[in-house]
């Protein structure tokens, strides 16, 4: 199982280590550094590295490498999932998963890691349970604690750990009982030069924020559940009910959690809400090129496309860019060669356009590659797949909760090739 964990920052400093079995020397990380050097970009470090006596399985999150040391045959996905869970927990506890936050809360970090893994076996990884065991730091609590002498650590058995609903603690009480569901859909797409769709799919999630007293038993039904043919469920969902009736029946965890994630596959028609007209060209034997991009709305179901941002990794030979934006503002970073155009809202009457001259290093050959345009956007109050919640019913408790559903569509990995 998981033997040790090293946290390493981008400049290669090991700033935290934790061993769940015997101590493994830091020098094992040299193999990681070697791979890191070879990969050049931090994103390209291979996640599984073998060394003479160990395996290193790592993830890269928020500018930190979480490097775990493995000595026996362990499912790598198990380790990677766990590492992401550790990063999620830090995020949850400290508001950000950063080197500073971890260093500032090093004792809590240690207590958490000790609770999350025993002998390399995951112990408590649910946020609900961890928070019962170890209280997150707040300025208010540390003041209160120092006055009353009370502790950060709960001294009762976390109830959820043994019941058949390990994700929920007992005795939850709220004065205002609320249940919110955010249906969030991201469009992943590759659009080719000519504007036709090479690949498109929708990655959807329903994120929930449930603050309900007691043991509520919820039923969530959809207008068009047939859309959901590829779904991953939170463990609280009763799979049999879904199979037979296509309703989500569950006793929810307390607080924020992801209820389901789903994929509307490329075989179905995925609407593409924006189009891009582009002309990026470099002349032979000249040190300049042209750049002209227009973004317009397409299948946007009558809603406004907003929060539009375009980023382009320009070829290495590009020195700078002299552009004019009819809307929004642009920046070009001559070091990373990244052009960012913050467009904002698209109004169909006046389409945003960015155009001008690209200056190349003198003498450099004409760039061969064509940069891809990465587009971000948001559409409020729309799930682009058409998914709609029908109703939410609650059983098992007597109060009337406040219920809310919100829809939003965003660009995921939305790329336009030029």
């Amino acid at each position: 199982m998981i033997h040790s964990l090293f946290l390493i920052n981008c400049s290669g400093d090991i700033f935290l280590e934790k061993h769940w079995k015997s101590v493994v020397s830091q020098s094992v990380c040299d193999y990681f550094f070697e791979a890191q050097e070879k990969a050049v970009d931090v994103e390209n470090v291979p996640p599984v590295i073998s060394t003479p006596h160990h395996y290193l399985i790592s993830i890269y999150r928020d500018k930190i490498f979480f490097v775990s040391v493995i000595q026996t045959e362990v499912p790598p996905l198990f380790v990677i999932e766990f590492l992401h869970r550790v990063a999620d927990t830090f995020q949850d506890y400290f508001g950000e998963c950063s080197e500073t936050a971890i260093k500032d809360n090093v004792v809590i970090v240690y207590e958490l890691l000790e609770e999350m893994l025993d002998n390399g076996f995951p112990l408590a990884t649910e946020s609900n349970i961890l928070k019962e065991l170890i209280k997150p730091p707040t300025i208010l609590r540390s003041v209160v604690n120092s006055i009353t002498g009370s502790s950060n650590v709960g001294d009762t058995l976390p109830t959820g750990q043994l019941s058949n609903i390990p994700w929920r603690r007992a005795g939850v009480k709220y004065t205002n009982n609320e249940a919110y569901f955010d249906v969030i859909e991201e469009i992943d797409a590759i659009i080719d030069k000519s504007g036709s769709t090479v690949f498109a799919e929708i990655q959807g999630v329903i994120d929930s924020c449930i603050k309900l007293s007691g043991m509520p038993d919820l039923f969530l039904s959809f207008m068009n559940p047939r859309l959901l043919d590829d779904v991953s469920f939170h463990p609280c969902i009763r799979f049999k009910r879904w199979e037979s009736e296509r309703v989500l029946s569950f006793i929810p965890p307390d607080g924020n959690f992801r209820l389901i994630s789903y994929r509307v596959s490329s075989q179905n028609l995925v609407a593409i809400p924006v189009y891009v007209k582009h002309l990026i060209s470099f002349k032979e034997n000249s040190s300049s090129g042209r750049f002209d991009v227009t973004i317009g709305p397409k299948q946007n179901m009558g809603k406004t496309v907003e929060g539009v941002v375009m980023t382009v990794h320009m070829p290495k030979a590009v020195l700078n860019m002299n552009l004019t934006a009819t809307q929004g503002s642009y920046t070009f970073d001559p070091v990373t060669k990244v052009l960012t155009w913050d467009v904002g809202k698209i109004t169909p009457q006046k389409l945003p356009n960015l155009k001008g001259i690209v200056n190349l290093q003198s003498g450099a050959p004409k760039p061969e590659e064509n940069p891809s345009l990465n587009i971000q956007f948001k559409i409020q109050q729309l799930a682009i797949s058409g998914l709609k919640v029908n109703r939410l019913d609650m059983y098992g408790e007597k109060y009337k909760p406040f219920k809310g559903v919100k829809y939003i569509t965003k660009a995921g990995k939305f790329q336009v090739r030029t």
Binding site: S151, Q267, E369
Partner: protein, 858 residues
């Protein structure tokens, strides 16, 4: 931040901490322990505070207790005597009314890796394994695995393994899951033990627990289920039905472990079954979903999908598009996706695939671009209907003139020619235009191959090949070999214009090169050309078999094994765990049988290392080598002349045969004389001594030698030369076991110490009564020589004739009787065509003796 002040801690502050730790105020104590832990986590040595921290352990404040435990786990190893002080508190805590404290105590005790403590752990652990509270039982289950890691014997002696097995039937699913996890870990270091002996009842328990335990527990249980062998297809199907819901789990490791169980048990289901089809359909969506996760997860998923599409391509055949590469995917994801795209390429989707690949070929990352270009070639070979389109795509890419793209394109076009000969040769002209830009050996070799293969259609083929010849010795072996073959092909196709060229290349290959492959191939062509030009043409220009579709598929038995390892490291490396996991079942050097019959000073070396240390065989069988060379002189005589039509083509003869001075035309006769002579002469042929052990490999000791047979006794004739600066003495020799039981009949006698720069000749008598073990090759002999400096190893090949007995000649009746005694299965038959009666007699006589010796030595 609020806790950052813990960061800077000096030795002076350690003194202050000591005071705080011993404070009466609970809060002050706790803050002090926190400071200690903070220093510990950043690697500062706070072990000096051990007794003070341990003193804080007896508290009812749970947080303080936990903090002290954290400290204990870290430092107990370095302060074992101090750690004993904590034992009583642990034992007491294991009896605490609060199950959380009981569990915490047993959990922490297991983490203190000190032998002395483990003895005290046994009783509390035994109680905790039977605790009324399942939270304590599940913690105790893991503790058994910890204890096993520290002291396996203790765990077995105390009967903890049986208790652990009982916990598989526990009423609480989490206890079941942890028991399975602990047993699986223990089983990994005990491959032969039957710890997880599964039967239909225990399987039922596991399947029930599967629905109710945490995501991590589900992974342990699924991985355990995958090792079970259902008794029939009905049981397999019923397990599959109960595992399928796990495919919708949000945790990708649960999904992949479920996929493993299903892929494995599907083997038992009939393909005609409706359920089989349903299962296939259910497998696709979860696999695709894994690809929308974080890149690290994607990578592992893709490595596994690569196996799955090879085993059951039908599962993902409609999902090509999800493998399309996004420009900002990490490179390790891009390369894997590309591989799977090719595996899924078919006539139905080839147009899309090609369009994608062409797009990728203009990306920035060189490795990826190269692989994309190669992929286009693989598509052409895999999907015949697309070949033409692939070729034209490759030509477009060549027009970009991007150097590495051009080179990759040429390499794959060569393969396309090998798959579809005489179809796309029109593009050769375009390829030839790029000849000058090729600087990578593989691309140069590919281009040369193309020129040679299609020499008759390329007007200036001779000029093109000649241009490479100038720097022949600077080229890599790959290019040299290809150039040799291409020029020979050219010569056979256009003999009149290219004699000089072929002479030049043959001479470069045979005389000026010391690469054995190149020399041998050079000689083979030379002899072919000189013996029988027509045959040469038939051999060299023969139609070659087409290359097969996919050469990089995993071999089926390995693939089946890897399917059983879906989701594990083995699936990432595409190798079975035995090939790479340290300390896992059957690592090769642990399973090798121990060798016997070696003297102690050889045994101190591991058998495996012994074999690896041995250099390559130094001397070859001398007989065969010399007679073949003699033949070559003869063959070179008139052959080329007839091909040239008597134009006075004079091949430069190889140096060796000339020096031997063998009479031309007598090669074959000599060959038979020599073999025939083995039995009849009293002293047989003795090869010249060759160096067996060079001085630089043996700290200055050089050994050369040969073998001889004189009137029934075999000897190893050695020359030991001291090329070191110190005197050598105390020589001894030992043979490894070998095919014919060769062994020294007497010790190695070097009477006086060997001074620097001195040599001594020794004849070591041998017998054949040593231990026998079949070697490869059969006449391989591994020798160890010891002196006052070190032990050295070398291996050599002995000529088989030293084993042939002199009294092999026998009467006709006797021969027939002996012949009949040899079992029929040992008999091999072949016909010798076109040989004179006289020569035939000789052959027959030669083989009597070989047969007789072989049958007697077995």
């Amino acid at each position: 931040g609020p806790q950052s002040q813990y960061y800077s801690i000096s030795t002076r502050e350690i003194f202050e901490l000591k005071a705080e730790l011993n404070s009466d105020k609970k809060e002050k104590k706790k803050e002090a322990v926190k400071k200690v832990i903070a220093s510990m986590t950043v690697g500062k040595d706070v072990s000096a505070l051990f007794p003070d921290v341990v003193n804080c352990m007896q508290t009812d404040n749970l947080e303080l207790k936990k903090l002290v435990y954290l400290y204990l786990m870290n430092y107990a190893k370095s302060q074992p005597d101090m750690a004993i002080m904590a034992v009583n508190t642990f034992v007491k805590d294991c009896e605490d009314p609060n199950p959380l404290i009981r569990a915490l105590a047993v959990r922490t005790m297991g983490c203190i890796r000190v032998d002395k403590i483990t003895e005290y752990l046994c009783e509390p652990l035994r109680k905790c394994l039977k605790d009324e509270d399942p939270y304590v039982r599940k913690t105790a289950a893991v503790c058994v695995a910890k204890l096993h890691d520290i002291n396996a014997q203790l765990v077995e002696d105390q009967g903890f393994l049986d208790t652990l097995k009982d916990l598989i039937s526990d009423s609480n699913p989490m206890v079941v899951a942890n028991a399975v996890a602990a047993l699986s870990e223990i089983a990994e270091s005990h491959p032969s033990s039957n710890l997880l002996d599964l039967n239909p009842q225990s399987i039922n328990k596991l399947l029930t627990a599967l629905n109710e335990c945490t995501e991590w527990g589900q992974i342990f249980i699924l991985d355990c289920l995958a090792n079970y062998m259902p008794k029939d297809d009905r049981e397999a199907q019923s397990i599959c039905e109960r595992v399928t819901p796990r495919l919708s789990h949000a945790n990708s490791a649960v999904v992949l472990s479920a996929v493993k169980v299903l892929m494995k048990f599907m083997e038992m289901l009939s393909k005609d079954l409706d359920y089989y089809g349903t299962l296939l359909k259910k497998l696709a969506p979860p696999l695709v979903t894994l690809l929308s996760a974080e890149p690290e997860l994607q990578y592992v998923a893709l490595r596994n999908i690569n196996l799955i599409v090879q085993k059951r391509p039908e599962i993902l055949k409609h999902e090509m598009k999800v493998f399309f590469v996004k420009y900002n995917d990490p490179i390790y994801v891009k390369l894997e996706k590309l591989d799977i795209m090719i595996r899924l390429a078919s006539q139905a989707n080839i147009a899309q695939v090609l369009a994608e690949l062409k797009e990728y070929a203009t990306e920035v990352d060189v490795d990826f671009v190269r692989k994309a270009v190669r992929a286009i070639g693989r598509c052409a070979i895999k999907v015949e209907q697309s070949a033409e389109r692939c070729v034209s795509t490759l030509l477009d890419l060549i027009q970009t003139k991007v150097n590495y793209v051009v080179q990759e394109a040429i390499v794959v076009i060569k393969d396309i020619f090998r798959k579809y000969p005489n179809k796309y040769e029109s593009v050769i002209a375009t390829l030839c235009e790029n000849l000058d830009s090729l600087d990578e050996p593989e691309a140069r070799a590919a281009m040369i191959w193309i020129v040679g293969e299609y020499a008759e259609r390329i007007d200036n083929a001779d000029e093109l090949l000649e241009s490479f010849l100038e720097g022949f010795h600077d080229e890599s072996t790959q290019v040299q070999l290809q150039l040799l073959t291409a020029i020979v092909k050219l010569f056979l196709k256009k003999p009149t214009e290219t004699q000089e060229l072929v002479q030049q290349v043959l001479s470069l290959a045979t005389q000026d090169s010391d690469n054995p492959d190149l020399r041998d191939r050079g000689y083979i062509y030379w002899r072919l050309l000189s013996t029988d030009p027509v045959a040469a043409k038939e051999v060299v220009l023969a139609e070659k078999p087409l290359i097969s579709e996919e050469t990089d598929l995993i071999e089926p038995t390995l693939l089946d094994e890897l399917i059983c390892y879906i989701g594990t490291l083995a699936s990432v490396y595409h190798k079975p765990p035995s090939a790479f996991v340290e300390g896992s079942r059957g690592v090769v050097h642990k399973s090798l049988p121990p060798r016997t019959g070696m003297s102690p000073w050889v045994l101190v070396h591991e058998p495996l290392a012994y074999q690896e240390d041995l250099g390559p065989p130094v001397s070859g069988p001398p007989l065969a080598a010399s007679s073949v060379q003699m033949g070559a002189v003869d063959l070179l005589g008139g052959g080329l002349d007839s091909l040239m039509g008597g134009s006075g083509f004079a091949a430069p003869g190889p140096a060796a045969p000339a020096a031997m001075g063998a009479p031309l035309g007598s090669g074959l006769g000599d060959l038979f004389d020599l073999t025939g002579g083995v039995g009849t002469l009293s002293g047989s042929y003795v090869a010249p001594k060759t160096v067996w052990l060079p001085a630089m490999k043996a700290k200055g000791l050089e050994i050369s030698g040969t073998f001889s047979r004189q009137v029934g006794s075999i000897s190893m004739d050695l020359v030991l030369t001291n090329k070191a600066l110190q005197v050598m003495s105390d020589f001894a020799i030992q043979f490894n076991r070998n095919s014919f039981g060769l062994a020294p009949a007497a010790p190695l006698q070097v009477h006086a110490p060997l001074a620097p720069n001195q040599s001594v000749e020794i004849s070591l008598p041998l017998n054949t009564v040593g231990s026998v073990m079949k070697m490869d090759p059969l006449n391989n002999l591994q020798v160890a020589v010891k002196n006052n400096i070190d032990v050295f190893y070398f291996s050599t090949l002995y000529p088989l004739h030293i084993l042939f007995v002199e009294d092999g000649k026998m009467e006709r009746q006797m021969f027939l009787a002996t012949w009949k005694d040899i079992p029929n299965e040992n008999e091999a038959q072949f016909q010798i065509k076109d040989c004179s009666l006289n020569a035939g007699d000789n052959v027959a006589e030669g083989s009597y003796k070989v047969l007789a010796t072989q049958s007697s030595s077995k």
